[in-house]
Amino acid sequence: MITLGIDIGSTTSKVVILKDGQEILATSLLLIGTGTKGPVLAMNEALMKSGLKREDIDYILATGYGRKNFTLADSQVSELSCHAKGVNRMYPQARTIIDIGGQDAKVIQLSENGKMLSFQMNDKCAAGTGRFLSVMAKVLDISLEDMDSYAHKSKKTVALSSTCTVFAESEVISLLSDGIPTSDIVAAIDRSIAVRVGALALRLGIQDDVIMTGGVARNSVIAENISTVISKKVIVSEMAQLNGAFGAAILAYERVIKDESSSAL
């Protein structure tokens, strides 16, 4: 059986194709999200990589903020449940997920059998999300991908006190005007995200193992800083950005199996 999970976020579209709910046949990730051609292009890319056609797919499950608008899907599930499912498959010992995406940050508590026990999300403010990093990268005139290497070169701790994206942007511009090296500013930005998301996690309650997912998980300095804030080891998921789509593909498989069982009865 072939199932496809698609995670349509605010800035990216991710697809995972699974065989029998276990074997990953193909993945794709495009840097355009909901409201664009991204979801369809990502799906076509994954189909092409796997050598499959649309009609070979038994079930498509969509997640992410664009899930409701993806008409090719058989059903939709919130990204929180998909992240829980994906992490539980790869890391059965996981009890806490920290997911930082383009426009929100989430902390999810998992039970021993991988069920979502509770969750909390950031409020409307963009601070502590991928959007915050994008805005800062633009101000610093560096790419998002280069931020990690800049942070690693930081030699001096600089304080970034604002939690609001707009205020922090002004503060970063002031630091640049004062001649503070970009590397130190990037490190300060990373710490500010870690403090905000770490507080969210501490408020909900943290149990080992802590797994980090989402696009921001690619930034190793942020993961390290979150680890410091919450005083726990943070494991960055191997499927970080694809985890939601991976969970969606597993849930798609489970839905088909459940439907088949019901029909058999």
Partner: protein, 395 residues
């Protein structure tokens, strides 16, 4: 007449009676919603409630221009959105919805919140009218002791004298007793209506109760309210008997709602809940204005024991009672951003209920009246995740 028609008539009367009183040269006052309405009613004084008016304007999506006016005047958008709407409204009194009449005096009690006092002080200065403040001390733990009750009673004695003086009315104990009887009956009826939602499935969509509660906020001292509440109770009892409900769908999950509703997004709030078969069956806010007492001393005790003026221990106790009595599966906590009272301790309260009551919980971000502080997509995602947790729990 059906209950919803009686309710509409009641609302019409509420506004038109104030307009008539003003035309006849009688005094009309504005009061905070938890001020003892029994006092002005016993002196035949017409009262209007700016908090309720602000909620009404926001629910009709007619508040945006008043936010702009208030912010132009220099009021921060971090302030209570009810206050901002009213302070903006007071610049023009020109709503295309129902209008308040200009007040002749103000009654404000501190058992709702302390921002209200500053709001009313501004109104008093603006209109150059007397402001009567009833100071009700915040009670962190337990119930108010006799000293506090005496302190509040002494203030009420003075307020009664001064209201009698400015309105040329003579205070009459038997009239107060009569008004208290009406309030007690209305509170009893409202409680019995809320109790009907304990049936499984509930015969009523919780959001209907959020709408109807306006009667108990603004008109709990009126005989006409008794007629409306009796009819509403009768209609809901019929639904119980006939196994019908006003909830549009199948009630799979029952939840309690903590906090003020987001009035401008009442419809948007319901849709994801209905789509996920979640019905609001109870909530502390629904019960906030129907006070239970037997005599004047216990009336004072009741106004001193409004949840807003009691600490978190009481909030936890009441939330636990609702969860148990209404047999809920989960609790929704609405973080109304411009109301510190109704979101200040919610993170702690949510943790207590999640860990101690076998309830799924959901924290959402909105505001009681400012729709600019509500993001539907985020709300919808959270409700769906909440529903998935409820479903997993069931399995």
């Amino acid at each position: 007449m059906k209950a919803h028609q009686l309710y509409k008539q009641l609302t019409e009367d509420y506004y038109s009676q104030a307009e008539e009183a003003k035309k006849e040269g009688k005094l009309v006052g504005w009061a905070s919603s938890n001020f003892p309405c029994e006092i002005p009613e016993s002196l035949s004084l017409c009262i209007q409630y700016p908090e309720n008016h602000a909620a009404m304007l926001s629910s009709k999506k007619a508040a945006d221009k008043y936010f702009a006016l208030a912010e132009q005047k220099g009021y921060s958008n971090d302030l209570c959105s009810y206050a901002r709407i009213n302070l903006g409204y007071c610049e023009t009194f020109d709503s295309e919805q129902r209008n308040l009449v200009r007040p002749d005096f103000l009654l404000c009690s501190s058992n709702t919140c302390h921002q209200l006092i500053k709001w009313y002080e501004i109104l008093s200065l603006k209109f150059e009218i007397p402001l009567f403040i009833l100071d009700i001390p915040y009670q962190m733990k337990g119930t108010p002791d006799q000293n506090k009750l005496d302190y509040v009673k002494n203030q009420l004695d003075v307020i009664i004298k001064e209201l009698s003086f400015i309105s040329h009315q003579t205070f009459n104990q038997s009239k107060l007793d009569e008004v208290m009887e009406i309030c007690k009956e209305n509170a009893r009826l409202w409680h019995s209506i809320l109790d009907l939602a304990k049936n499984k499935p509930s015969p009523i969509n919780g959001f209907d109760l959020f709408v109807y509660m306006s009667a108990i906020v603004t008109m709990r001292s009126k005989k006409e309210t008794t007629v409306f509440l009796k009819k509403l109770k009768e209609e809901i009892e019929n639904k119980v008997e006939n196994k019908k409900t006003t909830y549009p769908g199948k009630e799979e999950y029952r939840v309690s709602f903590e906090g003020i509703c987001c009035w401008p997004c009442l419809y948007e709030f319901q849709i994801p809940l209905i789509n996920n078969h979640i019905n609001v069956v109870g909530g502390k806010y629904l019960d906030l204005f129907a006070l239970t007492y037997s005599d004047y001393p216990s009336l004072i005790q009741a106004y001193c024991s409004i949840p807003n003026s009691l600490g978190i221990e009481n909030a936890i106790k009441e939330s636990r009672e609702i969860v148990s009595e209404y047999q809920t599966d989960g609790v929704i906590f609405n973080l109304t951003r411009s109301c510190r009272i109704w979101c200040g301790y919610y993170f702690a309260l949510e943790r207590e209920i999640r860990n101690g009551c076998n309830q799924e919980t959901l924290l959402i971000d909105s505001d009681q009246a400012d729709r600019r502080n509500f993001a539907f997509a985020q709300y919808e995602t959270r409700v769906e995740a909440f529903s998935e947790m409820l479903s997993e729990k069931e399995q």
